[in-house]
Structure formats: C-alpha cells, structure tokens
Symmetry: D2
Subunit: 364 residues, 4 copies
Amino acid sequence: MSRTRVLLLGAGFIAEIHAESYHRFVPDAEVVGVYSRTEAHARAFAERHGIGRWFTNVDEAIASTDSEVVDICLPNDLHARLVIAAANAGKHIIIEKPLCLTIEEADEMIATCKARNRKLMYAEELCFAPKYERVRQLVREGAIGPLYFMRQCEKHSGPHSDWFYDLKRSGGGALMDMGCHGLAWFRWMLGKDVRPLTVYAQMQTGLLHGARTRCEETSICIVEFDGDVVGCAENSWAKLGGMEDRIEVCGTGGVVYADLFMGNSALTYSDKGYGYAMEKAGTTQGWTFTNFEEAFNQGYPHELKHFISCVREDTEPVSTGEDGRAVLELMNAAYHSARIGQKVALPFRPKVSRPIDLWLGEGA
Amino acid sequence: MSRTRVLLLGAGFIAEIHAESYHRFVPDAEVVGVYSRTEAHARAFAERHGIGRWFTNVDEAIASTDSEVVDICLPNDLHARLVIAAANAGKHIIIEKPLCLTIEEADEMIATCKARNRKLMYAEELCFAPKYERVRQLVREGAIGPLYFMRQCEKHSGPHSDWFYDLKRSGGGALMDMGCHGLAWFRWMLGKDVRPLTVYAQMQTGLLHGARTRCEETSICIVEFDGDVVGCAENSWAKLGGMEDRIEVCGTGGVVYADLFMGNSALTYSDKGYGYAMEKAGTTQGWTFTNFEEAFNQGYPHELKHFISCVREDTEPVSTGEDGRAVLELMNAAYHSARIGQKVALPFRPKVSRPIDLWLGEGA
Amino acid sequence: MSRTRVLLLGAGFIAEIHAESYHRFVPDAEVVGVYSRTEAHARAFAERHGIGRWFTNVDEAIASTDSEVVDICLPNDLHARLVIAAANAGKHIIIEKPLCLTIEEADEMIATCKARNRKLMYAEELCFAPKYERVRQLVREGAIGPLYFMRQCEKHSGPHSDWFYDLKRSGGGALMDMGCHGLAWFRWMLGKDVRPLTVYAQMQTGLLHGARTRCEETSICIVEFDGDVVGCAENSWAKLGGMEDRIEVCGTGGVVYADLFMGNSALTYSDKGYGYAMEKAGTTQGWTFTNFEEAFNQGYPHELKHFISCVREDTEPVSTGEDGRAVLELMNAAYHSARIGQKVALPFRPKVSRPIDLWLGEGA
Amino acid sequence: MSRTRVLLLGAGFIAEIHAESYHRFVPDAEVVGVYSRTEAHARAFAERHGIGRWFTNVDEAIASTDSEVVDICLPNDLHARLVIAAANAGKHIIIEKPLCLTIEEADEMIATCKARNRKLMYAEELCFAPKYERVRQLVREGAIGPLYFMRQCEKHSGPHSDWFYDLKRSGGGALMDMGCHGLAWFRWMLGKDVRPLTVYAQMQTGLLHGARTRCEETSICIVEFDGDVVGCAENSWAKLGGMEDRIEVCGTGGVVYADLFMGNSALTYSDKGYGYAMEKAGTTQGWTFTNFEEAFNQGYPHELKHFISCVREDTEPVSTGEDGRAVLELMNAAYHSARIGQKVALPFRPKVSRPIDLWLGEGA
C-alpha cells in the first residue's frame, strides 16, 4: 500500500514540528507539498525537508497536488476558509489548534466536512503526549481513585510569530493560544460525554507585551464538569525561563504530577552557554533544563501517526472538529466570564467575531 | 524496497523490547521468526507480536528463515556460538550486550563476521538513548568545556532471569550485566580513539542474592582514559525502588546530570497501588515514579533503526564487535582489579573461561 | 533579664510544635503552664515538655499563672472568648490562625487588646518560613521584576482533630484551616497597604470526608489586588501522600518556585516502612519524601521568637489582629463567592455566625 | 548560670558562620573576642558581630580574654600549635576540620588536651546537619535494612581563601578540604567501632586551578569497612554551578538520597540576576537554586550548641580529636593510594610533613 500524501500549509514553527514528525515517525505518510505565502520560506522549507513541491498560492497548492490530506499550520483567522476549501477539494484535514475564531465558523467547517465525507482531525497533541497518556492510563486503571481535580499549566514568554499578538488574526491571547490545550485535555481525561457546566476565568494583560498587544497575557480558567470534577487551565505569555507544560491530577485515592519540559530534561550548568535548551528558554548560561525529543514528548508523532492511520483505515479520530468546537465554546465562555466576573453556564452561544471581544468588548 | 527480514533469537525481557521497538519505530524491518527453547514461550511470543514463524531449535531457525538479520537476545554463554553460526549462514548480526564471555570468543566472532563480510552490530542502546545523546551533543558543542569526569550508574534489584545468577552462563554479575553499558558509553562520549589506561574496581557480594549466586551484586569501576579523563561505572543488583540509570558529566566549563527513569517520570501517589510503575519498581502503593515510553527513552528504537539502516545502506554501525570486545577487556581488567586491589593497566589479555574467574579465582 | 513566661492553651498538634519551638529556639521564653480540658492530655503534655503546671480549667489557668503571654492553640470557636479573657487579665496574646469566626468577634478582640494595651499577635508562620522569606527577599531585591502572580498551595488528607470537621467549631473547612495561610502570605508579600479588590472562590465537598462533614474539602481562591496582581490560594483536605505547602511567584523579570515539604526532604525507598516521613504522609513503605526540622522549615521558631521579642522590647509584631481580621474578611468573601459564582468586591461586611454559612446558606 | 565565653580565632568565611550560629542559635554562648592577623578584618568582624574585643596577636588573644572555649577557624597549618597553646592556657577547644597536618601533630594535640583535661572538640558539622541526621535516624530505625554502601559528595569550584591552594598550609587539596567531611560522616553513620580496612583513591589535578596549585582538584576515595560496607567520598574544586553536598545510602532493604543545597532550595529564574543564590553559585542570571538558612542546613548551629553544652555539662562530644585523627589517617592512606594505584590497608602510619606529599612525593 502506498504512502498517504500530505500537503502542508504553513512553514513556521509548528509546521517544522509536523514535518519532522512525519519524516521520523510516520512512515505511512509522505509530505508532497508545502505552502507559505513567502516564497523564500516555502522554498527553504521544502529543501530542508526534502519536499517535492512548494507553493505561495494556497488555493493552487490545494488544487495542484494530488494530496489526500491537507495539514493546516497557519494563523487562526485562516482556519475556517482553508478547512472548507480543502474539504470541498476532497481532502481530509488536519487542523492545528484552535479550530477557528467563531462558533459559526466551526459549525460550517464541521458541516462541510460531513457533507463531503471528509475527516476533520483536530490536532490536539496533548491527547497523545506519552507522559500524559501514561497518566490517563493510570487514572483509567483506578490508581488514584475517582477524579475530582485536574490542572494543566502551559506557559512561556510569548509566541513565535507576530500574528499571535494581532487579536484580529489570533482571536485572543494566551487562552486562545494555549488554553485550548488544557480544555481539550480535560475533556479527553474525563471522557467527552461528561458535560462541562460552567466556566470562570481570570485574565491579565500588559505584562511583557503590552506595547504590542491588547491580548490577555495570563489566564486562569476554571471549568466545573458534571460529577463535581473541576478543571483548571492556566496559561501565560509572561513566564520567563522556558516552556512550562505540566499537569496535576487528583483523585480521592491519590495524585499524579507530570511535567513535559523540566520534568524530562537533563540539568546543565554551562559557564559559556550553548545553542538551545528548550522552547523559549532564554539564556543558556548558568543552569538550564536541557530538553530532548521535544516533539515526541509533546505527542506530535503519535498524533500525526494516529491521524494518518485514521485516513488509511477509515476510522474515527480521537480528536475531531466537534472537539475543537467544544473547546472554542469553553474559551468563549471564559472570555465572557473574565469580563463579567461571574461563572458562565454552558452551553454558551455568543455572537462575536473573535472570542476575545467577549472580554474586551464588542468591536474592540 | 522491501522490508529487512529479522530473525529474533530469544523470547524474554529484552526480546520483548526489541520486538516492540521494531514494530512501532522501525518500519523498514519485519520480524519474521522467533526462537525460544521453550515451545510455549516461542509460540506465545509469536502470537503476541504477530510474527509468522516460531522455533524451538535455534539452528533450524537460522537455517529455515530467509532472514537477513539475526538479532540475538539470549544468555551470554550462547553469544559466541550463535554469532558465528549466524555469520556462517550469511546473516548480519545484532548481538545484545555483553558481546560474549572471553576475549578469544570475541576475536573469533569478529574474525568470522569479517571473513563472511557480515555486520556484527553490538547492541549498546545507551549510545542511542535520546537524553544521553542530547548530553553528548552538549559536550560536543562545548557547553561544559573540556570533559574530565563521567559517571554512569545503572542499578536495580536483580535481573529478570535465573541464568544471570549462574556465573557459568553470565560470566559475572552486576558488572557483566550492566557495567558494560557504562564502559561502552564512556568510549562513545570520548571517542573511541581515546585510550583507556587503567581500570580499578570495587565489588560486593552476598547482599540480596547471596543464597543463589556468587556473582558480584555491586561494582564500582574507575577507568582512567588518556588525557586525564576519569570514568566511573557504578552498578548494582541490590538497589531497591526500581531501575536507576543516570549520568553525571563534568567539564571545566560546567556539568550535566541526566536520569533516564526517575528523571523522565510522572510522580504518583496511589493509595491502592496499580499495575506497573517502572522496571523492577517494587511496590506501586504510596509514591512511585511512573515511567512512560521506557524503551524509547533507553534508545532501543533508535538503536535498532540505526542497525537496520546500516544493513540496508551498507554503512558502518556506531557500535560494533570491536566495541563489544573493548568493553569486555575493560570488564576483565575490572574483575582482576577487584581481586588484587590495584589498578590494572590496559591492554589486558587474561586467559579465563569467564571474566568473573579473575575475581573469584580460576575455576571458581 | 528574666525569661518571658508563657501559658500555653491547648495540648494538641499545634501546641506540640509551639512547645518544641520555644524549648529549642526561643531561650528568652519559658512555658510555665499548659491547659487542656482533658486531664490526661494536660498532664502528659506538661511532663513531656517539662512544664511546671497543668490545668483543665482555662480561666483558672489564665488567672493562676503569672504569665505575661498567653499562647492560644485551641479550636477556632474558642478564640474570641479566650483572647478577650486573656487581654482582660493583662496578658499579651499569641493566637493561632484563623483569628476567630466572625468579623464582629475580630473587632471586639482587637478593641479589647487595644484598650488593655496588650499585644494581639496573629500566628501566621508562613510570614516566617525561612524558604518563603528567602523568596520574599528575592522579590524585594528585584530578582524577578514587578510581581503579577502568586500562588500558595496547602493541601493534605484532612485535619488532625475532629473539631475541624464540625463547622460550628471550625467555621469552615480547608479554606478556614489552610486558606488563611495563603491569604495572609499574599498580603505579606505585597505589603499590607496594597488593597485586595475582589475575591472569587471555587469549592468542593464530599470527597474524602463527606460522611462526617459538610465543610469544603477543596478550595481555590483567587484574589485581585490593586496594581493588577493576582493571588491564588489553593487548599485541600482530600490530597493524599502527605502535606503539600508550596508557592509560585511570577514577575515580569522571572519566576520562583519553593516547596516546604517535598522540596526540603530526603528521598527514601523503604521495603519495610518506618515510623514517620512527614505530616500526614500515609504509608512509609516504598518511596517517601522524608522530612526533617519540619517546625523550623515552616517558620514556627522564627515566629515565636519574633513574638517574644516584641513583648520584651515592646515593638510591633509583623502579624497582628488586624492582619487576622483582614484574612477573615477575605475568607468570608470567598465563601460568599463560592455560593453566588461571582467575584465579590471588598470590603465585605457579612453578618453570619460562621464564614461557611455564606457558602452553605445561613443557619446551615 | 552565665553564658560560656568563646574566643574566636579567625575572621574568614567559616568564622562568619560560627559567629552567626552562636548569635542566633546558641544562647548559652557569648563570643567575647576575635582574632585576625589583619587588623581591619579583626575590627570589622568584631563590629559586625557585636564582639567586645579584637586582636591581631593570637597568643595575646588567648592570654587576655577569660574565655573558656577557643574556637579555631584558621588555616590548617596553624591548627596544631594553637590547639596546644590553647589547651596549655586551660581552654576547651573547638577546632575546624581537618584536625591538623600530621599524625604526630594529632597525637600531641590529643595528649596535651588530655593532660590538661581540656575538651578537644572536632568540628565536623555533617554529624549535625539536620537532613543527614534524619537519614542516620532512618538507618538506625531499620528503614533501609543493613547498610552496605554510603556515598557523600562535596564539590564546588574552589575554596574561599588563597591559603587552601598552598599545599604547605593546607596539606592537600579537595580531599583535605572536603573529603574529611565524608570520611568523618561514614564513621558517624556506621559507629566508630566499625573499623576501616582499606582505602583507595583516584585524584586529578590541573583542571581549573592548575596555574596556582599542585593540589588535587578532584578525589574519589573508596573505603572498605569491616562488615563489607563501602564508603565513597567524592570531592571536587572543579565543579561549577554552586556547592554540592549530597549523600546516597544503600541498605538491603532500601535506599535514601539527600541533598543539602539543591535539595533544599527554591528554584528561581531571574532575568537580571540577584545578589546571592548559594555558596559559590556562579551567575545568578537564568535558573538558580536559591538557598536559605545555609548554616542551619549544614548543621553548624546544632554542632556549636552541642559543643557548648558539652563544656557546660562536662559531657563527651560526639566528635573529638580522636575522630579528627582517624579521618586524617584515612586521608593519608588515600593520598598514598592515589600514588601507588593500590588499596592501602589500615592502620597506616606515614611519616610526612603533609598528607599530599604521599601523592606528589616526599618534599614536593
């Protein structure tokens, strides 16, 4: 059986991780083309990864490669249009988080994919991160008894690309960028049939990046789930010292802590410093937590292998457009809560162009 | 290009890890047969891993599968005979550590493989463990300046199988079983052209397993390398609480610490306990260091992928029979040192049937 | 100058810590009497600590020792009456947390002590815990730039004595028992002139102790302070594996983490188990985090030494009745918030008999 | 009862720690005088610590204060003469490690103190470090079963004062400076009646400090004790990143790890850096392990309190001149071993002016 042909849209940070993951860990997939609006980026990316074709026109890219899968690693505001275009072109879709900017978009994306019988695979890698999956297995096994609390923290000193700071493109700050991970992971841990009841959020802005964005730089988002389980997603663009991604899971029979970055690292003291310690590490002089196999430890290879397998064997992915939509709804509720200082009950059906408008005020 | 056909000799602990690693991470390889002298083990292993054929006669296994590679995961005393048999049958060979029991065997194994133009690939997974490889890269990059000290500790509460305790089969205890890792890794870190000058060793016996073995249960082995670099390999069969595998690397510009088990784990408190925490963890009630992707973190997939690639592309493996022989020489010197209480200069050419005889006395 | 005479009211867990701290670290103080309503407890405590007199009548104890300081380590519902009685008897007072049950009580206690010119010293040991004080000093020094977030977690598997579960005596659960620490510590870190603006709280009950209490077993309490600083106090009576007391402090120039229990411990694996690992550790078989100098690391000696010094030198304590009152107000607001699902603005002036009534409903 | 009067000889790093420890934790002692050969140091030290008198002539200091205890914090080569002088002047003596330079000196010091009926108290603070004492208690309690291995590592980037580098004054390098701690601690853990049988040592020089000293910069020293217990003392003057002081204790029923510096610290990331992280920390920018109560955690207050109590109550100290002598003998054997590459059997009676001569060669 031949390899599954993948078209990669985007040539930035996350596209690099996808390309590396396909290459090293997903032998059943082949990246046949890459798109970036900047020619130099597209060409360099293709050369670096040995990809046959590169494009600067996204529609041409979709039309002129006979790919079966389009893997979208582009800014949030492009998600809806491109998913719909790709589905209409008969492609299965891998879409990076967050799903899109509005609930309406989400509904249309899901409906189009359904109508075209294409898979809409929502790339939530935390559902595949091997250490976190080990924790999920422990919980399933009853190691810590019935669950009543989960926390996921994801924090760093600010995003890779400028478009994240532009709320018209990103739809929001740290919560949109990273809170989506924690919220998706809570649902994954509990099982998707466990309903979220309310959302409360606390946000801060103007910490490190006030000069260039009105987006929230920190967010604490508390979700109450049916069965008296509480999830707490904490996110920051204002935390120095490198990437933080960790969880705490409490049951009445025990507790588990896991840390994907510091908790997997070698500990280094370097007088002179060195090239790279971990994502957004800051200085590498003095003590550093040196990471290895970062993409693997975050679950990207496992995720992409799963998605390619779903396409090849026509099975249901564990993370779908519906999941992305549910996370988007929670984030919308969180922004609204941060504005009004109250828990927001779910389901929540806002009418805004961007989630963050619910916090900053309509048309912000 | 079709997949490389591998015959697996052995159906125990390490054979399981190899089979899982091939299956998940080495798409270019296919395990086509498995041998165990115990029919039930061979059959169950084949079924569990979807392997087409199983054997209880090792020579028949080698003769009747058209494998290109024989991967030997059997007790130490069988290594020499089977490597030679496989080479004579035209197979490339992956041989688990240690290489064999005597220097004479090593020489014959190497000579036979050379004569037959077959690859003798010495399975030292620490040369592939991703965290340790990250450390090696740091050192190469100059992050900690010129190296002057390395330690590798590998300790647990005793081996999986009874044959390890039988010094006629194993050739020695904790040093033979695990010291080979540290010694190989020192050479890998320094570069194989850096000569070891002397070996000193300190051993203990009769701790946990005195009733069933005369083998050393602990070993501290100090190697002086050219250029005033010291390596210290520490090993134990008497350390409770689960597998320990960690390194400490000192240079005049810094230091690095890395830990493969505790240092990659989730931290769990379980009231009732659960199924599995890590290799030889003991109890899982109370606090445990829960591991994930153990085989990956120890480098097995990377190692086997590399070996298969060497066969397919006819390139030189990073770990060869000569490396295994060099490690064996160091271990022989270590046993002799433990007996006489002095540093032993290298090269060292003992005439004994088993390395441990140099400690316990000839014909022990 | 002679030693300052202290009367200790209470012979339970916290009284033990006070007695040990005076004895080992506060040479200027002398415990001259101890009260417990249970004769056997009072007598045994006095003998164990070499205290001259013991009492089972608290008023007699206050009247018949010529103590200068009364140190109150009794259940929360007794605080107000005994502080007032002691002040009226001319004693300076050390009062364990929380200050009392109602704002009215607090006002009366403060007024009485003021009228009698007696010191009301509120025993908040986190303001003295040496590791946390080191962190405070780092922050003052500018090591992490302007502060924008603080978290303090204090969690264990449930209190020492039954009265904590009786909301009529305790006034509330995990928040009253331990949340008071975090809230006091936020004020201490920021400076007491930085006003808290709002409080939000999330609580859970019926986890481990549902059969014997209606008190909250977990609490997450978010406080917004003037200057856009957020504090998050997290507390639990449902966390197995031993005491947790840790902080996280974020500034725009860095971050600090500190852990008083796991983070100061020796790491032990014990096959058979042993006597004591840390407060509420659960099993001591397997891996444990073995503590040392627990009282010292929590700051009790420093706190009591400071209080005794304030009495001797007639200086102002760093933690006073006003501080205890401010914390009580925050806790009242938190209970109210947990009920209504909204942020509560400060100042907050409830009229309830017990803080937890604000969550469970009046007269609960 | 009045306070015990202490004369402090020395005004350097360790004298500071003693002065602080007396002041904060040993109320029964009073430092009545301080000596430094440098007037400015003596005066400043006295002022800083509120000490009544300061001296630049050591004999005058001993003669003209009516101290009961002389506490010697001066370079190694002065130890013997001053202990003898102080004993002859009728003083009890606290002597910092190592006891002195030669076995002959040790014998004379011990004999003089005995003849004068003065206490010779050997200041080995590891016998008092609270975390290590907790570990000793665990071992005594049987938590880890019969002991068979102990390691103590003490490493940093080089000593505080120049005299350490001058082998005529120090008598040796990292082993003399810090190895004495591990060797003393092994004896303390095992009980002093457990005889050491052999010593083996491996040393390195010319790493960080080759331009200014011929002293060993690293030392690994393996001691075999009666009952098949092995101790391994590891020391370095060439380890960057701050002070390391940690232990590993193995028994057939478990294992304990404890770390006095990193293992007690707050973890800080500071963009700009700050004043002080821990002893010899190097940079404070980036990640650091921030220490607190360093003197307390190393056991100085407990040690000095014990010594003062021994004087006041005329009891036997847990660490005496005989202990210092036994450690000195082990260090002598270690230097000899490092020269000859063999285990050295004990007892060992060398005739050299300085221990390091046994490694470098007589008259080096």
